[in-house]
């Protein structure tokens, strides 16, 4: 039994390093960048007038539409549209690129709501305090509001990150040879589906556990300024 498990291991680890991890890291990075931009568009209410204010409203509408689309449709369907659907209108993407785009947009939509509500939950008085000291809006966001929102946003975002690790298994459906696709091949050859799928499950669990530990460490660090857990 162990021979079978071990024989699949090198290819699995290779798939993890080549696809699962880069896919997760890239998608999460891009996803968070998108999410912060979208969250700020929906959160900020700049005092502008005329054409700029119309453009801003349009941008907000666009942001809301984007979030709505990606939260109201299955991730699997999104991946299929990007990889199998878009070529029909001349947009032909390599599988890996398509996967990164799909996962990033999906993560961006969910995380933008998480980030927006964290920004909203920072006490409004903090803005007054910063403004009276001469801070501009960007400086207030960067120095005062975002660091406080970060504490609030860390647990839910970590959960989204861990969710993304698991979701990358969906990339197997658009021809990417990540861990789950590799193990499917093994299972088909050696007729040990239980053993094989438990093995890949264990690897996903391992990855997620490492991330949870990291999450707890970060949470501790970021809550340093709260009474009681100063260590």
């Amino acid at each position: 039994m162990w021979d079978i498990v071990i024989s699949a291991l090198p290819k699995l680890l290779e798939a993890m390093v080549k696809y699962t991890i880069p896919l997760t890291l890239l998608s999460f990075t891009f996803g968070i960048i998108i999410a912060v931009i979208v969250a700020l568009i929906k959160f900020l209410n700049p005092k502008v007038s005329g054409i700029v204010s119309i453009l801003w409203k349009l941008l907000r509408l666009l942001a809301s539409f984007y979030v709505w689309v990606f939260r109201s449709t299955p991730l699997l369907v999104q991946l299929f549209i990007i990889f199998f659907g878009l070529p029909a209108i001349g947009v032909k993407l390599p599988a890996f690129t398509a996967a990164v785009i799909g996962f990033s947009l999906n993560t961006g939509a969910y995380a933008s709501e998480t980030i927006r509500s964290a920004l909203l939950s920072v006490n409004k008085d903090q803005w007054d305090a910063a403004y009276t000291l001469g801070f501009s809006t960007p400086k207030t966001l960067w120095k005062i509001i975002m660091p406080q929102a970060f504490r609030i946003v860390l647990p839910p975002l970590s959960n989204e990150f861990i969710g993304l690790v698991k979701d990358t298994s969906l990339a197997s459906t658009i021809t990417i040879a990540e861990m789950f696709q590799i193990i499917q091949q093994y299972a088909a050859q050696n007729y040990e589906p239980l053993l094989m799928y438990v093995e890949v499950a264990a690897l996903y669990a391992m990855l997620c556990t490492i991330l949870s530990v990291l999450q707890r460490y970060l949470e501790k660090k970021s809550s340093r300024y709260m009474k009681g857990d100063k260590n």
Binding site: S49, N123, D125, Q126, D128, A129, A130, Y131, T132, L133, G134, F135, S136, K139, K143, I144, P147, Q148, R151, R224, Y225, M226, K227, K230
Partner: protein, 245 residues
């Protein structure tokens, strides 16, 4: 000298400031009194543009603001450089240490060298006896201590006027005493202050000038002595109302 003329502000249909004109002399302490809901906070916040009045003008040395027109970012910043607010609930930044609460604006907004900003902050902290907390976070301090820090934070940007909105009303009597002593000392040093308070003893001891605001209008504007000699019926009624409580 800070001067406002015919300041009006409504929230929705509710007119909160109904045309307020006043002068706030430099180097003096002006105390704003009045029943709650009369518009004192809105008036004070207007002086720092945390509230933007609907109309009226504000003059501060060369700066002239007409609130009926849009105020540019530059004018806004100029006003905020000259004034700094202390809040009822102090509003320290919980993500920054005490020292950084005080140095944040000097360093990031006014581009003072870090070392100089920190030396200045330590000096301010020493004056209020809290230098040992420089590296602590706000949550580790009592309300009275945090309020003293927030006054240091306001002073650190060297504003011409400090605006204080009921700085002691969320504090226990002992902390209140300490803050008021600190403010009295600042007043003696010639720091220009505009303070909303219900503490008539402080007004008697430290104010140069009293502004009584009722229902969005100025009911009394004059020297402290004139105020407490109760020359007007409205002032008399107000003072009687307070002593009944």
């Amino acid at each position: 000298m800070l001067k406002i003329n015919e300041i009006k502000k409504s929230f929705g249909k509710k007119a909160v400031l109904k045309g307020i004109s006043a002068k706030f002399p430099q180097g003096k302490t002006t105390v704003i009194v009045g029943p709650s809901g009369s518009g004192k906070t809105t008036l004070l916040r207007s002086l720092d543009m945390l509230v933007t009045p609907d109309s009226g003008t504000l003059d501060f040395d060369d700066l002239h603001l007409d609130f009926a027109k849009p105020i540019s970012n530059k004018e806004n910043k100029e006003l905020r450089d000259k004034t700094s607010m202390v809040f009822q609930n102090w509003n320290l930044f919980p993500n920054l240490t005490i020292l950084k609460n005080i140095t944040a604006s000097p360093i990031f907004v006014h581009h003072v060298a870090k070392e100089q900003a920190e030396t200045n902050a330590h000096n301010l902290l020493k004056e209020v006896g809290l230098d040992e907390y420089a590296d602590a976070y706000p949550d580790e301090l009592s309300g009275g201590q945090q309020q003293r820090i927030s006054i240091c934070r306001a002073l650190a940007v060297k504003p011409e006027y400090i605006l204080l909105d009921e700085p002691t009303s969320a504090l226990d009597p002992e902390s209140e005493m300490m803050i008021l002593k600190m403010l009295e000392r600042l007043a003696k040093e010639g720091q220009s202050m505009i303070m909303v308070t219900h503490n008539m003893q402080f007004a008697k001891d430290a104010a140069d000038k009293i502004l009584l605001v009722e229902n969005g209008e100025v009911e009394f504007d004059g020297a402290k002595d004139a105020f407490f000699s109760q020359s007007s019926i409205r002032v008399k009624e107000f003072l009687q109302g307070i002593s009944l409580k």
